[in-house]
């Protein structure tokens, strides 16, 4: 069983949803990213989504766009991120899922990426603009499997029955449900029908289902945890990192926020 699957298995036994924070690698720099990941793990993160910055993040709102811009301006590269993971993954003790746009991976070459990622201790990959249909997949899936990397795919409110079946077939570790049609970031209230939709989807999947996009408060996280196997919080934390960068209490503030968000996930 993969480390990511084990996380969900453990959470299931403990009758809670997994807490999955997101942060952009290299914002404000890679050394701080390492310290932030540790703070998140100490605060109660079960799994960390580590974002690979991209020049054209079409699925992201302003907060993560700005983080990507800062990270790229600081010279962050995919190789640098993988080296960082290699140095810290063991000590961290929680699995790392890379969250990327496809071009930096495609540019590196799937085989070479997968080999280096696996050697660095990365646990899985989610490419936001690579749906399971793409024929590049015929290579993508076997290559990722060969290196023991989980392939997480997205579902969205617009996904049809056929698409749900396809994602269910290719996703390993878990399936990531996008809470609403939209981009990352705060857009006010979550859709009323979200919990019902998550319950409905969960019955169709054998994998755990995590929910993300637009989840900001412990209350929102707790309400989704009643139905989902995992809760992802991204922009709210990236925004906190943005605000606190340069302050002495950056790490303690992030740890504290993760703690507050993770606490309410008991069912």
């Amino acid at each position: 069983m993969s480390a990511i699957s084990e996380v969900f298995e453990r959470c299931r036994r403990e009758k809670r949803a997994a807490f999955i924070p997101f942060l952009t690698a290299g914002d404000p720099d890679l050394e701080t990213t390492a310290a932030l990941m540790q703070a998140m793990a100490d605060g109660g993160a079960d799994l960390i989504e580590l974002g690979v910055p991209f020049s054209d993040p079409i699925a992201d709102g302003p907060v993560i766009q700005r983080a990507s811009t800062r990270a790229l301006a600081g010279g962050t590269t995919l190789s640098g991120i993988l080296r960082l993971v290699a140095r810290h993954r063991d000590r961290l003790g929680v699995p790392i899922l890379l969250f990327s746009y496809f071009n930096p991976i495609h540019n590196r070459g799937l085989e070479s990426f997968a080999e280096q990622a696996a050697a660095s201790g990365v646990d899985g990959l989610l490419c936001v603009d690579l749906p399971p249909d793409e024929s590049a997949h015929q290579e993508y899936i076997p290559v990722m499997r060969r290196y023991g990397l989980d392939t997480v795919f997205l579902l969205a409110p617009t996904s049809t029955k056929d698409r749900i079946r396809r994602v269910a077939e290719y996703s390993t570790g878990f399936v990531y449900y996008v809470s609403r049609t939209g981009i990352t970031g705060d857009q006010g209230a979550l859709p009323d029908e979200l919990v019902k939709e998550v319950r409905r989807l969960r019955r169709k999947l054998t994998q755990p289902l995590a929910v993300g996009f637009g989840i900001n408060t412990p209350e929102q996280a707790a309400s989704i945890a009643r139905a989902a196997d995992g809760v992802v919080v991204g922009s709210a934390l990236v925004k906190l990192i943005e605000e606190k960068t340069g302050d002495d209490d950056l790490l303690s503030a992030v740890k504290q926020r993760v703690k507050e968000l993770a606490e309410g996930l008991r069912r």
């Binding site: 079409i58 790229l72 746009y101 496809f102 071009n103 930096p104 603009d129 969205a156 409110p157 939209g182």
Partner: protein, 433 residues
């Protein structure tokens, strides 16, 4: 509109290029769009309505003009201009905008969005939206809102909202990013009118089909006016590639016709100084939903581009172009900023036509080949748009040049009125003759 061709394959691939590399939220809507397009484009009622609008509203067929003075100037092949600049709103872009807006209406969408670089596709979309009673938002990079100011005003007068995009390079690429973000968010009631043969399937084939009327008409007109359906060379500028595909599709199977796409050579050879994806600049990548040739750095980050023309200032090429280049069917070359400005000047002065700076790139190449060919040869150039929008850009260019000349030598000022590159053309004419 003629029947769709066999390409791309069922998955939206032109050989290794194309596909649908988009977030999951857009996958089902793209399916729906492809199905709607396939259904409606086959219906007689839809085709008739589109043809009717293109004829009586937009002004098709656009003229084919034998540019005799330009021909004489170069002293070589006969040059014919396909006058897309005379289409309503002033560029070829309206063919596609009306087609897609009509489709959006059939699909029950109440809102359309578009990206724009030069502002021509934005104006065309705003126009089609006004005509068909749709709400319209146009995304445009901040840099482009400045250099194509006239078109911003036009869009607003047409009732559209122009949303300036202040991220990244603040040009066309970033406008597409923002339009995609809007679409992901509002996909249920919104259709995205993408303005070139770019993006995820079905856009590259749909936009091509809406534009192929350009080449189909040109063939018929050539037959009548020049006694042949086959020019020796057909030339078009290539941003995303829509006016080029629109012209070339009618000639693809006619091997007698040499097809040449002209990219933006910008101000230099280094990454960031041009928008030429063929040659050593571009490499295989994935951008804006399609796998194609992309200008990128060694880490797979998309590179900045530069062109004096906003409509060519884009780092990726339509996937069908990438395949046609591999097959050797279309040849790609580039024209620099300086060459494009010189061609703009020349056409203005000896034909009384202000071309769009985009189209001026195609004219610049025509000026290179015409003198090398005999007078019995025939060159067809797609004059994709008119240059009113570029008046300020050209004036700024002049002003900068004058400053430079002043700095170098105050006596050089008088000579600048005849552009150096235009003189160069004069010379190549002598050499040829």
């Amino acid at each position: 509109m003629a029947r769709p061709q066999l390409r791309p394959d069922a998955n939206g691939y032109f050989g290794p290029y194309g596909g649908r590399y988009v977030p999951e939220t857009l996958m089902a809507p793209l399916d729906e769009l492809a199905k709607a397009y396939d259904r409606w484009s086959r219906k007689r009622s839809f085709r008739n309505e589109l043809r009717d609008l293109l004829t009586h509203y937009a002004g098709r067929p656009t003229p084919l003009y034998h540019a005799k003075r330009l021909t004489e100037h170069f002293g070589g092949a006969q040059i014919y201009l396909k006058r897309e600049d005379l289409l309503h709103t002033g560029a070829h872009k309206l063919n596609n905008a009306i087609g897609q807006a009509l489709l959006a209406k059939m699909m029950g969408k109440r809102r359309v969005i578009a990206e724009t670089g030069a502002g021509q596709h934005g104006v065309a979309s705003a126009t089609a939206a006004a005509l068909l009673g749709l709400e319209c938002v146009v995304y445009m990079g901040v840099e482009d809102t400045v250099r194509q100011r006239l078109n911003v005003d036009r869009m607003e007068l047409l009732g559209a909202t122009v949303a300036p995009v202040d991220s990244g390079s603040r040009t066309l690429k970033d406008a597409i990013n923002e339009a995609l973000r809007d679409w992901v968010t509002n996909v249920r009631d919104t259709h995205y009118i993408l303005g070139s043969v770019l993006g995820p399937d079905p856009y590259p084939r749909m936009v091509r089909d809406f534009h192929r009327v350009i080449g189909d008409e040109a063939r018929r007109q050539l037959k009548k006016q020049a006694g042949t359906v086959s020019p020796d060379v057909a030339i078009a500028c290539v941003g995303g590639g829509s006016n080029a595909i629109g012209l070339f599709t009618a000639f693809i199977d006619d091997r007698r016709v040499k097809l040449v796409g002209v990219e933006a050579g910008g101000s230099g050879e280094a990454l960031g100084e041009h928008a030429a994806r063929f040659g050593k600049g571009g490499s295989l990548g994935v951008l804006h939903g399609t796998r194609t040739l992309v200008l990128q750095d060694e880490e797979g980050q998309i590179a900045g581009t530069h062109s004096v023309s906003a409509g060519l200032d884009y780092p990726a090429i339509g996937p069908e172009h990438a395949l046609l280049a591999d097959e050797g069917r279309i040849e790609y070359t580039r024209a620099s900023d300086t060459e494009a400005i010189a061609a703009f000047d020349l056409l203005a002065r000896i034909e009384g036509i202000l071309p769009a700076l985009e189209s001026a790139h195609a004219l610049a190449y025509a000026g290179k080949v015409a003198p090398l060919l005999s007078k019995r040869r025939l060159i067809l150039v797609n004059l994709s748009g008119r240059g009113d929008k570029d008046v300020e850009s050209v004036q700024n260019w002049r002003a900068k040049e004058r400053e430079q000349a002043d700095a170098e030598d105050s006596t050089a000022v008088a000579e600048v009125t005849v552009h150096p590159a235009a003189r160069k053309w004069g010379k190549s004419q002598e050499e040829a003759g």
